[in-house]
């Protein structure tokens, strides 16, 4: 073990993105531009986000923001749906959008020579969507179908119930994809209004990584997005406060014809802005990820053989995402799996982690950085993360020291702050709970 203790010292941190290699500029209209050149690559990745997501949508229209996002590529003032996709698929490129609670995101990839085309298209679909009625009807039918499939998925249903119970009267209680009943309340007028109020250059961040010259990329971004304004762009609503979970709250959903149950248990976790977020992330790795799913996997999967997957996760976004454990188990084993996971959480917040566990996981966090930053996608994602949370352009170069400095006490403190086996939500979805023999 000892030989890995200072593994990070062998890392050449100068090869990671930093102030020397990352170009950052702020355009006059509020857009932040980031770029890193990689001329060993024939391709380019364009990704980014804009502050503002689905928080502003009314509860009875859950899914509105995501619906609007799905409509961006369905036609613009000068391009039809088929023309948009013909222009990217014919060159082997891709462009897609995603909607979150706090921001929307975009991702494009193509050959480096097609950078300008992708930027021009990105600008067009963001600024000039025509929201055609025929496409609206089609997207509606596709969404209803995909929501019907989701509503038959035990993992999805357990997570939906978990969020509803953990975040009552809070925007996090409903999914950005909405529900079958709320999606039907959406119409084109609401989509146009949401688009007008949300999409704009303010707080818009774009990152370009790959085989392109950074100065040229900046010029292209100025050309296609520099003149963009939206005087009606509004700011995000504030998140309401949360009521702490008291006691064990357990609910089950029955899905006829299923074989296996999914179990989700946990509560509210720290946001990425929490000063001890990385201590929580290290702790979570020990609890339910390291090796074959950490301590939870070791007990539920390896020792008891109850589940193919049994792990924990920490959302860590701009707001207080969930810190939870999941397991897929036969219905007869639900109680046993829950007891084992709660036991592990109790030990975790009582005894903390061992020095060996902490050292191993610090080595993993630091040592895996080259893998995370191997590709254009990885670097681009890293730049976005740094900008999103104001971590500084030298964050990845400082990262080994930041992780190494985290102590067992810090991990224990943050675990105690957010986890309790006696105050948590337990959500189950499956064929119905069957009296266990264990």
């Amino acid at each position: 073990m000892a030989k890995s203790k200072h593994a990070h010292k062998k890392l050449d941190v100068s090869s990671f993105p930093g102030p020397e290699t990352v170009h950052r500029h702020e355009l006059e209209n509020g857009i932040t531009f980031l770029a890193r050149e990689n001329f060993s690559s024939p391709s380019v990745v364009i990704s980014g986000f804009q502050e503002g997501g689905s928080l502003a949508e009314p509860p009875d229209q859950a899914g509105l923001a995501g619906f609007m996002m799905s409509m961006l590529m369905r036609g613009t003032k000068t391009r039809s749906f088929q023309e948009i996709y013909e222009s990217i698929e014919s060159i082997g490129a891709s462009l897609r959008f995603g909607m979150g609670k706090h921001n929307y995101s975009f991702f494009a990839k193509g050959l480096a020579e097609d950078l300008d085309h992708l930027l021009e298209l990105l600008s067009d679909v963001l600024r000039n969507p025509s929201f055609p009625k025929g496409q609206f009807d089609r997207v509606m039918a596709e969404k209803v179908t995909s929501l019907a499939i989701r509503d038959q998925n035990t993992g999805a249903r357990a997570n939906l119930r978990f969020n509803a119970m953990t975040y009552p009267d809070h925007p996090y209680s409903s999914p950005t994809s909405g529900y079958q009943e709320t999606i039907r309340n959406i119409d084109l007028k609401k989509i146009r209004t949401y688009h007008r109020n949300l999409i704009g250059p303010k707080d818009f961040v774009i990152s370009i990584v790959g085989g392109v010259n950074a100065d040229s990329a900046l010029e292209s971004v100025r050309r296609f997005l520099g003149g963009w304004t939206n005087s009606q762009q509004t700011t995000q609503p504030e998140l309401p406060s949360l009521t702490p979970i008291k006691g064990l709250k357990r609910e089950s959903i029955t899905l006829d014809g299923k074989i296996q149950s999914d179990v989700v248990l946990g509560g509210v976790g720290p946001s990425r802005y929490h000063p001890e977020y990385l201590a929580a992330a290290l702790g979570n790795n020990i609890l339910g990820r390291f090796g074959m799913y950490g301590r939870i996997g070791s007990q539920v999967r390896e020792a008891a053989g109850l589940a193919y997957y049994a792990a924990s996760s920490l959302a860590g976004g701009p707001g207080p995402g969930a810190w939870k454990a999941i397991a897929g188990v036969n219905p007869v084993n639900i109680d046993r799996a829950i007891d084992l996971i709660r036991d592990e959480i109790r030990k975790f917040i009582t005894d903390g982690v061992t020095q060996e566990e902490l050292t191993d996981n610090q080595a993993y966090f630091i040592g895996s950085l080259p893998l995370q930053l191997e590709s254009n996608e990885g670097v681009s994602g890293g730049l976005i993360h740094v900008e999103r949370y104001g971590l500084g352009l030298d964050y990845y170069q400082r990262y080994p020291e930041i992780i190494s400095s985290i102590s067992r006490e810090q991990v224990l403190e943050v675990a105690k702050e957010f986890l309790s086996p006696d105050d948590m939500v337990v959500a189950i979805a499956g064929p119905g709970e069957i009296e266990g023999d264990a």
Binding site: E89, S90, I259, F290, M292, S368
Partner: protein
Amino acid sequence: MGENGVLQTRLRNGLRVHLKEIHTAPVISCWIWYRVGSRNERPGVTGISHWVEHMQFKGTPRFPAGTLDRTINRDGGIWNAMTWLDWTAYYETLPADKVNLALELESDRMVNCLYEPKEVESERTVIISEREGHENEPTFRLAEEVQGTAFRVHSYHHEVIGDISDLRSISRDDLYQHYRNYYTPSNAVLAIAGDFRSSTLLKRIREYYGGVPTSDIIDFESRVEPQQFGEKRVLVEGPGETPFVEITYHSPAGSHPDFLPLSILDSLLSGASSLNFFGGGISNKTSRLYRELVEGDLAAAVSGSLPASIDPFMYSIRATVRSDSEPDRVVDVIDQEIEKLLQEKVQEAEVSKAIKQARALFAYGSESISNQAFWLGCSEMFASYEWFETYLDRISEITSERILEVARSYLTPQNRTVGIYRPRGGTFNG
């Protein structure tokens, strides 16, 4: 070292070694491939190859159970394994200076895995749980029935996970015998790509693997699937609100000259497929079937798949049927599109577009060290590395005439199985 920058050699014990230097990031990806998968399984032991893969993580005297995962993670690496029709592969992607760890672990578990009875029983329930998770999904239930219907004789007829009755009855000795039979240097390919010097790495490989004894594997002769003489149909009913359609045609082996023309045909019908094992595909909204089925308001999604395999396997078209549509209408439209393909010559521009898409996706894949290492080994499992190296050249030579030829050869009603998943209706009690 060949002109292609790939060192290809074979050790005295029969282990084939492929090394490709890529110095764009301080990372290596190490893969060991064994020529064994569900194709090598008889009824009674279906799923045994996949179970053996699980048992390979259960420890050796040198690396007891539970230490292997931690050893890899501790050094900043990731690892995993996968079992397919024709092969089982294990990989570690690590910081470049940790390559010795991958060599040590994999050479050790090629011969020294314990297969403790207690671990076998614990893993039995884990694998049954994995299968039960699959069974929750309507698309798995449909795919399993379609595959089983398409193959009556050949061992491709069962899913890699295996049948539940076999998962309950396979014994520790069955597993250990399967391991000893197939996990031997002469049945393996070691493929490594990344930031290393090939000559130095080869010396280390000889140190770790040179002393591993080889043994003759018991030949497994797959049973040839007889020609099909009429369309087969299968209906699966189950929970949910959404119907699914899967139409599958017997397809040529991965090494067959018709394979790549059929892949371009699939690109025209259902969109460009990526060779990139670790993601990186593109959308399919300009494909013929998307236009007719999704824009025709019959389906919510459509896709195609054509896996490269040792023996002839399946070309499949899958559609998610909209709740306001009917599976039979979807099948009718697919039939019309295939008929159009058979009757009307494909425009060269459409072929050129499919080829350009394939070239772009190939270029993306070349950027990933893990993807390069994947193909260094995977191509050897069903053909040879030359298959991968000449991929672009052969793709570029495909003409509309060749596409018509393969369409006429394979896309016939007599060569297919049509599967429909019909939902019984959903009930939500929560």
